[in-house]
């Protein structure tokens, strides 16, 4: 992955609006043909980053490189990017066909037979509505036309800004599969902006979690999910349990909420007495009926789990049925804990929760974090 071939490289990018820094010294790089997602809460700067790549915002500092060339000073029409906005932004006075064809005239792509337009309408399965005006199309159709329009001039980079957020859940899922497969077929570098972390995990080759104008973590979905680099990433991406505590004398546990402890993973290099934050995914905690409290829990093997699992007793508060599993909200001492179990019946009353050291991920402080996976 060198910085010069294909993709988008952003180096030291800062964008200020008046006194507000929407982006502060952001650097990242995508691979050629990669599906790269910017995910974060609203107002985090992810859209600004996308718009700056598109040339729609002017950076206060930093460079943007597209396909190996410095595009920082290029106007949007010369950057070879295709953009799809959240609100589709179809031209209301043109038919679907005219919308798709619009960009071709600027790219020396003569269209005597409308082949390219037909090809793209086929690509998004919308050949049948080519002659309708945007207000006669459903939301999903409008979105696909917008995608076809962005792709028509064969851009180097496709930029998608929350393209699915205005659609209903099932349509959103279907469309994101379609977008992904089109992207693979065309092998086009894509930057995708979303606030939906599940979507980000589902669709991306790699993703960057953005917060307050800075990149928190970059990595593959698996890396970001399993090994969140910061408390923010841990809490933002997927369901998670985050515990603050102090490393015990022995250095192999963390005392959460006074006396109750959780194991630390073996590779964690912890300093006794230091404060630390750990996270445990709900599905990594095992659940069993009854009070299985073993305060020190050393060596006890429960439910086929490997050695080292400690069990803790907790009270079930609410249970959500997810179809293939239950999400159980419990209380362990004063700590809320969410667990996920695929047992056939919902747990109730008092349960015992099993924590394996390898399921515990150290986020910060007293312990040096495990590798976060993000290499940039």
């Amino acid at each position: 992955m060198t910085d010069s071939d294909g993709g988008v490289d952003v180096d030291g990018l800062t964008v200020r609006f008046g006194d507000v820094a929407a982006l502060a010294d952001v650097s990242l790089s995508t691979d050629d043909g990669e599906f790269f997602t910017l995910v974060g809460p609203s107002g985090c700067g992810k859209t600004t980053l996308l718009r700056t790549v598109a040339g729609l915002e002017t950076p206060t500092a930093g460079r943007v490189r597209i396909d190996g060339r410095d595009a920082t000073d290029e106007p949007p029409e010369q950057r070879g990017v295709g953009v799809v906005f959240q609100n589709y932004a179809l031209f209301p006075h043109m038919t679907a066909r005219e919308n798709v064809a619009y960009g071709l005239q600027f790219h020396d792509l003569p269209e005597p037979d409308g082949e390219r337009v037909a090809e793209l309408l086929d690509l998004v399965d919308l050949a049948g509505v080519a002659d309708r005006e945007p207000d006669q199309l459903s939301g999903g159709q409008q979105q696909r036309i917008a995608l076809a329009r962005a792709l028509a001039p064969k851009p180097d980079v496709l930029l998608l800004d929350e393209p699915l957020s205005a659609l209903d859940a099932s349509l959103r899922k279907r469309l994101r599969v379609q977008i992904r497969s089109i992207q693979r077929d065309l092998d086009i570098t894509t930057i995708y902006v979303t606030h939906d972390q599940a979507e980000a995990l589902a669709i991306s080759d790699r993703l960057a979690v953005v917060r307050d104008g800075r990149i928190e973590q970059v990595g593959t979905p698996e890396q970001v999910y399993r090994e969140p680099g910061t408390r923010f990433v841990a809490e933002f991406v997927g369901d998670n349990n985050v515990f603050d505590g102090v490393v015990t004398e022995a250095g192999d546990r963390i005392a959460v909420d006074g006396t109750a402890t959780l194991p630390l993973p073996g590779e964690a290099d912890a300093t006794a007495g230091a404060s630390a934050t750990v996270s445990v995914r709900p599905e990594a905690i095992s659940v069993h009926d009854g009070d299985g409290q073993h305060p020190d829990g050393n060596g006890s093997t429960v439910g086929g789990r490997e050695a080292g699992t400690v069990t803790r007793s907790a009270a079930v508060e609410t249970v959500e049925y997810l179809g293939d599993a239950y999400r159980v909200h419990c209380r362990w001492n004063d700590q809320p804990v969410t667990v996920k179990t695929d047992s056939t019946s919902p747990p109730e009353g008092t349960v015992s929760l099993g924590f394996h050291p390898d399921a515990v991920h150290v986020l910060s402080n007293g312990a040096r974090a495990t590798a976060t996976g993000g290499d940039r």
């Binding site: 106007p75 029409e77 906005f85 609100n87 006075h93 619009y102 960009g103 005006e133 329009r149």
Partner: protein, 593 residues
């Protein structure tokens, strides 16, 4: 129906119609009746005699007098190499209206661009006072224009400084067209600015990323979104300038007479049948145009949903920006606008403190104070005139806004014939002011015999009603498109929560269209403050005199010799009062934006 819509809306519809019937439809119909009767029977004779008169319709008169000869006439004309054809008074009137519309759009459009796309100190103020010219009584504008563009005017003085000129503009078609632009370009600017501010930035940016240059993106994406507003402004400008009367009379001279000027002369000589016929033809043409336009507007779908407006650039961004070609063009436009808009007004103010011999004086303001102190019968005093103008203005707002909203609701409802209904409800824009005045005089002031009583309608309430009728189409014209773009689901949500139609309007839709409502309110106030004809007709005496009436009285006042000094002083007062009012309306309204 009544249950579903809520009684208040229907009461509003009834009250609106009642008001319209009393102070508009009935008076106008009583005049137009003359145009379709001859010797007490229904007849087309008055129309045929006008349309068949080459003085009125030029070459087209053959269509009436000898339709069979038209094909051979056209053939002969083509054989002669298609020389220029005269279409009489109607032809000339149309020509000058087209020219005026073109110039108004050319002058108004860059103004909208600057106001919508650039940020600079005073932008808000400028936006507030854009429609100031709209209120100015034409006599004032005429005086200002002559003082600015006359042979010895400020403009020629300015040209002389840079070694140009002098230009002779007075009593030419050019100055009439410029004065029409003075009145109507602000209308273009105001309407288009609002549209430009609501252009979806994402669409423009999409076009840019697809490869369009800024100019192409404007042409392909922004312009189509501005077109409805531009078309509204152009149609209104055409209708207004087609029926323009005082400006043509004051700045044009008889050679440039329009249909309306001719109509006025017919009324003066009490040839009311021909006057009514001319008025009816004017109205038919204007209404036809409005109807066609309304159909076009209704076919368009307003882009709904949430959209991000285009951001404004600073007009001045460092010293370097002062010399880039776009900024230079904008500054050049600013200079033209300054000459065209500020020039006449400034000249007017200068006139108010200058003797005919060019010496500075405060005599004209002393005159106003003297009139204020006077107790002589028939004296119009300035301060009560200011108060009356403001009272009538506020009264007009209170009546015209509900009327306009009611009409807008009816218009957005759609359905069969609603375009025609809307056109009829917009008719006050399409009827000659002279015809309306004549109708009011005959039907309201002289009175109408009903059940053995002679009923007359005059006084302050009648004046406010007449102003409201003149003003409400501006409210409905600005509110209708805004209302159309409100998401239906919002209303449906409120209805599902138990709100009736009226409550939905009040709680959901009106707050959402508040900016349009404020713009309409400013127009309504402006119309009322500038109104002269019906105010004079319906006023019971000097007690209800308004600023334009006072001004007109002072024009005829010879106590300081036959000069316009006192009138210009009153005009300056009018200018000051209305400027403050506009800024206030905009500020108060701005809270809802």
């Amino acid at each position: 129906m009544a249950r579903r819509d809520g009684w208040a809306l229907w009461a509003g519809v009834v009250a609106t119609l009642a008001t319209l019937v009393v102070v508009f439809y009935y008076p106008v119909a009583s005049v137009f009746a003359d145009s379709i009767t001859a010797g007490g029977r229904l007849s087309l004779a008055p129309f045929l005699s006008v349309l068949g008169d080459p003085f009125y319709t030029g070459a087209a008169h053959t269509l009436v007098t000898d339709p069979a000869a038209v094909p051979s006439g056209i053939a002969q004309w083509l054989a002669a190499g298609a020389p220029a054809v005269e279409f009489g008074l109607f032809g000339f009137t149309t020509y000058q209206a087209l020219l005026s519309t073109l110039v108004s759009v050319l002058v108004g459009l860059p103004g909208a661009y600057v106001l919508a796309r650039f940020e600079f100190p005073g932008r808000r103020f400028l936006r507030s006072v854009t429609i100031l010219p709209f209120v100015l009584p034409s006599i004032l504008v005429a005086v200002g224009f002559l003082a600015m563009f006359g042979r010895t005017g400020l403009f020629n003085d300015l040209l002389a400084v840079v070694g140009l000129g002098p230009v002779e503009l007075t009593f030419t078609l050019e100055i009439v067209v410029l004065a029409h632009a003075f009145y109507n370009a602000p209308l273009v600017t105001r309407l288009v600015t609002a549209a430009w501010e609501s252009v979806d930035a994402d669409r423009v940016e999409t076009a840019r990323t697809l490869g369009a240059s800024p100019l192409r993106a404007f042409q392909d994406v922004t312009l189509p979104q501005l077109l409805p507003a531009l078309a509204t402004a152009a149609v209104l400008t055409f209708v207004f300038t087609f029926m323009s009367f005082p400006i043509v009379l004051a700045l044009g001279g008889l050679e440039l007479a329009t249909v309306e000027v001719w109509l006025f002369a017919r009324v003066q000589s009490l040839d009311l049948t021909e006057a009514a016929t001319l008025g009816a033809i004017e109205t038919a043409l204007s209404l036809g145009l409005l109807y066609v336009y309304l159909r076009y507007e209704a076919r368009r779908t307003e882009p709904g949903g949430t959209s991000r407006g285009l951001s404004r650039r600073p007009l001045v961004d460092g010293v370097r920006s002062l010399v880039d070609p776009l900024r230079l063009a904008i500054f050049a436009y600013g200079a033209v606008a300054l000459v065209l808009f500020a020039g006449p007004l400034l000249s007017l103010v200068i006139e108010s403190v200058t003797t005919p011999a060019g010496q500075p004086t405060l005599d004209y303001y002393a005159f106003l104070l003297a009139r204020q102190a006077s107790t002589a019968a028939g004296t119009v005093r300035p301060f009560p005139a200011v108060v009356n103008s403001l009272l009538f203005g506020v009264g007009t707002l209170l009546v015209a806004i509900p009327m306009g909203v009611v009409v807008a609701v009816v218009a957005t409802r759609g359905g069969r014939g609603s375009r025609a209904a809307e056109a009829l409800l917009t008719a006050p824009l399409a009827v000659s002011g002279i015809v309306l005045g004549l109708g009011m005089l005959q039907a309201l002031v002289f009175g109408t015999t009903l059940f053995g009583y002679r009923l007359t309608v005059t006084g302050p309430v009648a004046i406010v009603a007449a102003h409201a009728v003149a003003a409400y189409p501006f409210v409905s014209r600005t509110v209708t498109p805004a209302l159309r773009s409100v998401d239906d689901r919002l209303g449906e949500a409120a209805r599902s929560l138990g709100a009736d139609r009226t409550t939905v309007l009040k709680d959901v839709e009106l707050p959402l269209v508040a900016p349009a409502l404020v713009a309409g309110a400013a127009f309504a106030f402006a119309i009322s403050v500038g109104e002269f004809d019906s105010t004079v007709l319906l006023s019971a005496g000097v007690d209800t005199a308004t600023m334009p009436v006072a001004l007109e009285r002072y024009v005829g006042d010879r106590s300081l010799g036959p000069n316009l000094g006192p009138a210009t002083a009153m005009g300056t007062v009018l200018l000051a009062v209305t400027t403050v009012s506009f800024v206030l309306i905009d500020r108060v309204g701005g809270r809802w934006e």
